[in-house]
């Protein structure tokens, strides 16, 4: 789960990492009040869970409350790479002498946290990574022992942090690692980590991705989830406990297991179709979850047909069949469905479907065949609606 900059900074502050003072605002009026309270120049920053907001015009310097109001009016509601701006972070403006980059990431391949530090931080860090990889100092940390101060010092010396600043940077590295570990993050990043003209080092941005599986231990972080920001259908899916990702095509997909569903998407494309979504009902789904999943898929008006691809392991195909039957009797389903059931209780499931004799439901015995059929039906539906 990604956190907003202001939430990440709230966590940073708990671990002692210096950040600028600021306020959240969701209206231009609030932005003005925030600027009044903070005094002096402020920066109005769009809070979106995607990078590149600066280049997109989502960050503006304001000389005072009125200008803050004006910028807020322009930025709120703005679309930044598909994310609508719903809130702002108004913070005291900083004078910047240098921009550093600092991150702690969960390096799966090495099975160790990885710390990266560069004195060439700022918006072009990805370019630095490509053109001057030697300018990014890297260090893995033994997760059982945890970080030791010498590791932070080595990073500073390797990155070329001036000696007079290394005390502050060492401290921030140790604090950022503590935040990473303490909040069970998958990523914590400060870019830029600024140096002010009077040699104070401070986090000017905050990127924080936490492990969803660990949220039960961090109720305060769990509460930071922005239910408003997600796509309404993805939100609906989450509430129903299924994994749903919206895509651009017209064939709705419902399967069990992430790998099988991904494979199904690929097969649909390989057969000339285009998937409307990724939906994994997970293992051991009951009839109600099938109904709920269908509701999520059908909420997308672009869906012209639905492809069921179930290979029962923990999941029982008879439960899936019951779900399909229930959905067709309770929901207003107008799009055709192609159903492929295999594995645990497949025979029983197919028998139930045959017995129910549902309009618009076709059965297919292979994944490839089912995909072809679903595409064909979607195409026919599209043709019908166009004509």
């Amino acid at each position: 789960m990604d956190l907003y900059e202001h939430q990440g900074k709230e966590l940073f502050a708990r671990y002692g990492i210096p950040v600028s003072e600021g306020r959240v605002a969701t209206t231009p009026e609030e932005a003005r009040t925030a600027a009044e309270e903070l005094g002096g120049q402020v920066v109005v920053k769009a809070q979106v869970l995607i990078g590149g907001r600066g280049k997109a015009g989502g960050i503006k310097l304001a000389s005072g409350p009125d200008e803050a109001f004006e910028h807020a009016s322009n930025i709120l509601g703005m679309d930044i790479r598909g994310h609508e701006v719903g809130r702002l972070w108004i913070e005291k403006a900083s004078d910047i002498k240098a921009e550093y980059y600092l991150s702690v990431t969960f390096d799966r391949a090495a099975k160790q946290p990885l710390i990266m530090l560069s004195t060439m931080g700022g918006v072009d860090i990805e370019q630095v990574a490509e053109e001057h990889p030697d300018r990014i100092a890297r260090r893995h940390v033994d997760p059982l022992l945890g970080i030791q101060p010498y590791e932070a010092r080595q990073l500073c010396f390797a990155a070329g942090v001036p000696v007079e600043l290394s005390g502050q940077v060492v401290k921030i590295i140790l604090q950022l690692y503590a935040a990473f570990r303490g909040e069970e993050a998958m990523l914590t990043e400060i870019n830029p980590l600024i140096v002010t003209p009077d040699d104070v080092v401070r986090a000017l941005d905050a990127k924080f991705t936490v492990d969803e599986s660990a949220l039960f231990r961090h109720p305060d972080v769990a509460a930071m989830r922005d239910v408003g920001a997600a796509d309404p259908q993805e939100q609906m899916a989450r509430e129903r406990g299924v994994t749903y990702v919206k895509l651009d095509g017209n064939v709705g997909i419902l399967g069990n297991g992430a790998g099988l569903v991904m494979s199904t998407l690929d097969v649909v494309e390989q057969c000339g179709g285009s998937a409307a979504n990724f939906l994994d009902v997970g293992g051991g789904a009951k009839a109600e979850e099938i109904v709920a999943s269908l509701e999520v898929i059908l909420a997308d008006p672009k869906v012209d047909s639905i492809l069921f691809n179930i290979f029962g392991g923990i999941t029982r195909c008879d439960e899936v069949a019951r779900g399909i039957i229930a959905a067709l009797t309770t929901l207003d389903v107008t799009v055709p469905m192609v159903v492929r059931l295999d594995g645990t209780a497949a025979a029983e499931g197919l028998a139930l479907l045959e017995q129910a004799d549902l309009d618009g439901v076709t059965v297919s015995s292979t994944m490839l065949g089912a995909a072809e059929l679903a595409i064909e039906k979607a195409g026919r539906a599209t043709a019908a609606s166009v004509s």
């Binding site: 799966r108 599986s213 660990a214 494979s263 690929d266 290979f311 392991g313 594995g343 994944m367």
Partner: protein, 293 residues
């Protein structure tokens, strides 16, 4: 013979008195697995249809010489169960549990490795050696005995592949689901190395998916270390970047972790890659000289 589990397996099921634990323990026994014990703290002395239940894994090991553990414990307690099994001397631990916090696994991975034990999973369907033992939730009846090893990050996709192979009359030495989490106990290389050593395996199918760099590393390893042929498949060719596709591990960040880059790495390593499960099965059949119907 197969790998990881087989006729030598003496299985203890941790969390055996839970709904899923008991269902699959019995299912595994029905398949022929030698399920010798179960563990549920506080329920020592009971039994699950004849399988004796103990309070601790230590007790189970002492009483039944269990050598393999299947972990069916909720995510908050699952790492603890892994530690307990390894500490009790269990050398093979298979963890089905989904949703274990990644930082917990980070520590457990190092601790388990240092003690020389083999961990498969978490968030994996288990391991099946057809005709000998099935440990986990794999619907083993799909798979026939044979000599093609299967290693996969995904559960149901493995079944799909097994089904496609079976439809062509091809059987398997062992099927290993390594799991889709960011940190898994055994990765592709660990399992491929075992297949390379296994006299009953003469070919391996490796099923990857988007996210991480394990497929790329495995490809390089195969090129340098494997003599047996490997056929590859990677799911998620059409997955959009930045979206987590179900598995905690399945996410494309930037340009790394895409299916296309993985397929390319596999091909560069001399591994033939099928574009979908049906094609993978066809390639296997062709390489084995099986007539494709």
């Amino acid at each position: 013979m197969g790998i990881i589990v087989g006729s030598q397996t003496r299985l203890v099921v941790q969390g055996i008195t839970g709904r899923e634990g008991s269902f699959h323990a019995l299912n595994n026994r029905r398949y022929g697995t030698n399920v010798v014990a179960g563990v549920t703290p506080g329920k020592g002395g009971q039994d699950v249809e004849g399988i004796p239940v103990f309070d601790t894994v230590s007790q189970a090991v002492v009483a039944t010489q269990a050598n393999t553990s299947l972990v069916f414990v909720p995510p908050r307690f699952a790492v603890d169960a892994i530690y307990e099994a390894v500490d009790a001397g269990i050398q093979t631990v298979i963890c089905v549990t989904e949703g274990i916090p990644a930082h917990d696994m980070l520590l457990a991975w190092h601790w388990v490795r240092e003690r020389g034990a083999v961990l498969v999973g978490p968030n994996c369907p288990g391991v099946c050696t057809p005709g000998q033992a099935n440990v986990g939730i794999i619907p083993a009846d799909i798979f026939a005995e044979g000599s093609v090893g299967v290693v996969s990050r995904s559960g149901t996709l493995t079944y799909q592949l097994g089904k496609e192979l079976a439809d062509m009359g091809i059987g398997n030495s062992s099927i290993v689901g390594i799991g889709g989490d960011p940190i898994v106990g055994s990765n592709f290389i660990d399992v491929l190395a075992r297949f390379e050593e296994d006299p009953d395996t003469d070919m391996v199918v490796m099923v990857g998916e988007i996210g991480g760099a394990e497929e790329e590393k495995a490809a390089a390893w195969v090129a340098d270390n494997m003599n047996k042929p490997v056929i590859g498949y990677v799911a998620g060719l059409t997955a959009p970047p930045g979206k987590q596709m179900g598995h905690a591990g399945a996410i494309i960040s930037g340009s790394s972790g895409t299916a296309a880059s993985k397929v390319e790495a596999l091909r560069e390593a001399g591994i033939e890659v099928g574009k979908n499960p049906t094609e993978v099965a066809r390639i296997v059949a062709e390489q084995r000289g099986v007539t494709v119907g």
